[in-house]
């Protein structure tokens, strides 16, 4: 046990003296966080301005009224509605009095419930482009809903339903609008804010570099000849590898904790329960150390190992969303879910949303499973390093 601690302490002392560890483990990720925050940091604080909309809709038309109510009652953007005739509405847009005019034709409900084609005109100018786009998106969604219901009513007519039944069906269609609702779902509670994603993503990405300094020192020892000397010492040969793993672990845990604390402080992000976050850090460092041991097994030289490590770090980091959010479904989505850095970020999302240790089963399983598989692979792979 004493040789293990002696070797680990010596490794750490050298890593501290070798400034590249401090640079790659702390300074570069912190600098990148700031750069990304400066570039994209406004996205979290995005606020839409109120938008003026003119509406020309036939009086007493039930579905037209639904449409007007939906547009006027949007939560995402404050809409100031002005009722007008179609010509007046167009003029208001042209004159810049409103950003958008919605022109609902006469007989709108009859056309919709009859399954006939009907056109709602939208006229816009270049004011409030983003806000106008939001209003138009909502309009399109409501009209799509109307169309589906209209098809249902039309189908009922063709099936021989009586006028009363058709009227009831149309009434139901009208009453059921709006067709969308926003409720905070499970996913959003597990979602990190932009700043949180930035801090967690950079911490996860650079973790692979950091633990690489520890594990890949094994290859450096071989190249500089000190490995032979260590193996000639009166201790079990496996302790040399154990010391590299331990120093990598200490470096990884320390750097990740520092990055989360410093990044969290700089960006005003709270990752939640410290014990839960610490467990996540320990798990992701375990996965990273295991992965780097695979690299150390496969690479012939320290240079080869560093290249492989950089590629893996970038692939895992980027696919986890360290730079930009990435979503995918199907097989690709499943593969992305097995990424330990993605699991780490997912776990931090849970803790930042108030989750505790009991809620971390899935991300912990992914990270520790990844570590176990990597450990087995590193044992099974043939050692490509040339015998001395």
């Amino acid at each position: 046990m004493r040789p293990l601690l002696v070797m680990t302490a010596a490794d750490l002392r050298q890593h501290v003296r070798d400034r590249s560890v401090l640079i790659f483990a702390l300074l570069v990720p912190l600098a990148l966080m700031f750069v990304f925050d400066l570039t994209f940091g406004g996205m979290d604080d995005l606020e839409l301005d109120p938008v003026d909309v003119a509406v020309a809709a036939p009086e007493g038309d039930p579905l037209a009224e639904v449409l007007v109510d939906v547009v006027g009652g949007l939560d995402a953007v404050e809409v100031h509605l002005t009722r007008a005739t179609p010509d007046a509405a167009r003029a208001m847009v042209r004159d810049g009095e409103v950003a958008l005019a919605v022109l609902v034709p006469d007989g709108f409900t009859d056309a919709v419930t009859g399954g006939r084609e009907v056109v709602v005109d939208v006229v816009e100018n270049d004011q409030g482009e983003l806000e106008s786009a939001v209003v138009q998106t909502v309009l399109r969604a409501v009209l799509d809903g109307f169309h589906a219901d209209a098809v249902a009513v039309a189908a009922g007519a063709s099936a021989g339903l009586g006028p009363e039944q058709l009227a009831a069906l149309a009434g139901t269609a009208a009453a059921s609008a709006p067709r969308y609702a926003t409720t905070p779902g499970e996913a959003s509670r597990e979602q990190l804010t932009f700043g949180g994603s930035l801090v967690a993503g950079q911490a996860g990405l650079f973790l692979l570099f950091t633990v690489g300094f520890g594990v890949l020192a094994l290859l450096t020892e071989r190249e500089q000849g000190t490995l032979a000397r260590l193996q000639s010492m009166p201790m079990r040969p496996g302790l040399v590898v154990g010391a590299k793993a331990l120093s990598a672990y200490v470096l990884g845990v320390t750097a990740t904790c520092v990055l989360l604390v410093a990044g969290g402080a700089f960006f005003g992000v709270s990752f939640g329960s410290p014990p839960a976050v610490l467990v996540l850090v320990l798990a992701v460092v375990t996965a990273a150390v295991s992965l780097v041991f695979v690299i150390a097994r496969v690479a012939r030289t320290a240079e080869q190992a560093q290249i492989a490590q950089s590629i893996l770090a970038m692939v895992l980091g980027m696919s986890a969303g360290a730079f930009f959010p990435i979503t995918a479904g199907g097989v690709l989505g499943t593969i992305l879910d097995l990424n330990p850095i993605a699991a780490f970020m997912h776990g931090l999302g849970i803790t930042s949303g108030g989750g505790g240790l009991a809620d971390l089963g899935r991300p912990l399983a992914v990270m520790l499973g990844f570590a176990a598989v990597a450990a087995v692979v590193s044992r099974l792979l043939p050692d490509r390093r040339v015998a001395a």
Binding site: R2, P3, V6, M7, A10, R13, Q14, R17, D18, Q224, G225, T226, A228, R229, L230, Q231, S232, M233, P234, M235, R236, P237, A387, A388
Partner: protein, 327 residues
């Protein structure tokens, strides 16, 4: 399949007082037989040289002796205890100086020594005192606190040796310790090895420099293609070739008369004379040269130069292996 065939670690080879006993060691790398039945012994205070060209099997032999590699066959014992990667305690009696500079560039000489000393199980005042002694021995006391990356090649080589002898091993293994070293540092290293041998340490020294082997080694094993081709003292090895020493006498006066007188000196085998002097073949020139000079001057020759040429290990190696040492 490779097996550690040595007996248990606490087993002692009672039949010998030798520090190192290597018996019929074989080590293969795939189809390549790097060491093929090597055997030799080293007594306390003896320096044994493994002399051979690059690729002869010297470093593999050393790796097996130091317990870095297992032998596919044969055995190695140090102080009667078996050596192998799993035999931990016996390694306390072995000091290895690898061919590569096995020191940490970011650490100072003192830190390197303290680190390896701790791994050898030393600690406290004993370690501090011994580190100071070794720094003095290798001449690095005044630069002990500087990072070794700032050292010259010779200084690093000396520290490399210092680490190997830090724990006072019974057997010191030096694998080509003077490769790439300037003449001054090289001489310092050779003097250190001579001193260690004088203190009773058994030294296994590999080199492909003939002059180092001749200077340091009590006995020499000439190794090539993984086999010990011949073994013995320098004189014993040279006798194997049947070559004689040569003495050249230059001068004037009665050269012909001097040649006749010199031919009668015991040990002189053959004399070739000309106007400028004569060339003799002698069984043992250092012993015979005084009598030769006396005979020549007594016969009326005025000597201007005496030159002795002895057959060396290079010629022995050439004769035994058909190739030069630096091939």
């Amino acid at each position: 399949m490779r097996t550690d065939t040595a007996p248990p670690e606490n087993a002692r080879d009672e039949a010998t007082d030798d520090v190192l006993v290597v018996r019929d060691v074989v080590r293969r790398f795939g189809d390549l037989v790097a060491v093929d039945g090597v055997s030799f012994r080293i007594a306390p205070g003896e320096t044994y040289g493994l002399l051979g060209p690059n690729g002869a099997g010297k470093t593999t032999t050393i790796s097996v002796v130091a317990g870095l590699l297992r032998a596919d066959a044969g055995s190695v014992t140090v102080l009667g205890r078996p050596v192998g990667p799993r035999h931990v305690d016996v390694k306390r009696h072995v000091g290895l100086v690898p061919q590569d500079l096995a020191i940490y560039p970011e650490l100072s000489a003192r830190e390197n020594l303290m680190y390896f000393g701790r791994l050898q199980g030393m600690r406290g005042r004993e370690l501090t005192r011994r580190v100071g002694e070794v720094l003095e021995t290798v001449g690095l006391a005044d630069r002990a606190k500087d990072p070794t990356k700032e050292y010259s090649g010779g200084m690093r080589r000396r520290l490399n040796i210092g680490v190997g002898l830090l724990h006072r091993p019974a057997l010191l293994i030096l694998d080509e310790p003077t490769v790439g070293v300037d003449p001054q540092s090289r001489n310092a290293i050779l003097e250190s090895v001579e001193a260690l041998s004088g203190e009773g340490m058994a030294v296994l020294y590999t080199t492909h420099y003939m002059e180092e082997a001749e200077r340091l080694c009590d006995r020499i094993g000439i190794i090539d293609s993984g086999r010990i081709q011949a073994e013995g003292t320098r004189s014993e090895l040279i006798r194997l070739t049947g070559e004689l020493d040569r003495v050249r006498l230059a001068g004037d006066g009665d050269v012909a008369g001097a040649a006749a007188a010199v031919a009668r000196v015991p040990g002189v085998q053959h004399v070739d004379a000309d106007r400028t002097g004569m060339l003799l073949t002698v069984a043992d020139a250092p012993t015979a040269v005084a009598a030769v000079v006396a005979a020549a001057t007594g016969a009326g020759m005025t000597l201007t130069d005496v030159e002795i040429a002895r057959p060396n290990l290079e010629s022995v190696f050439l004769q035994l292996t058909g190739k030069a040492l630096r091939d």
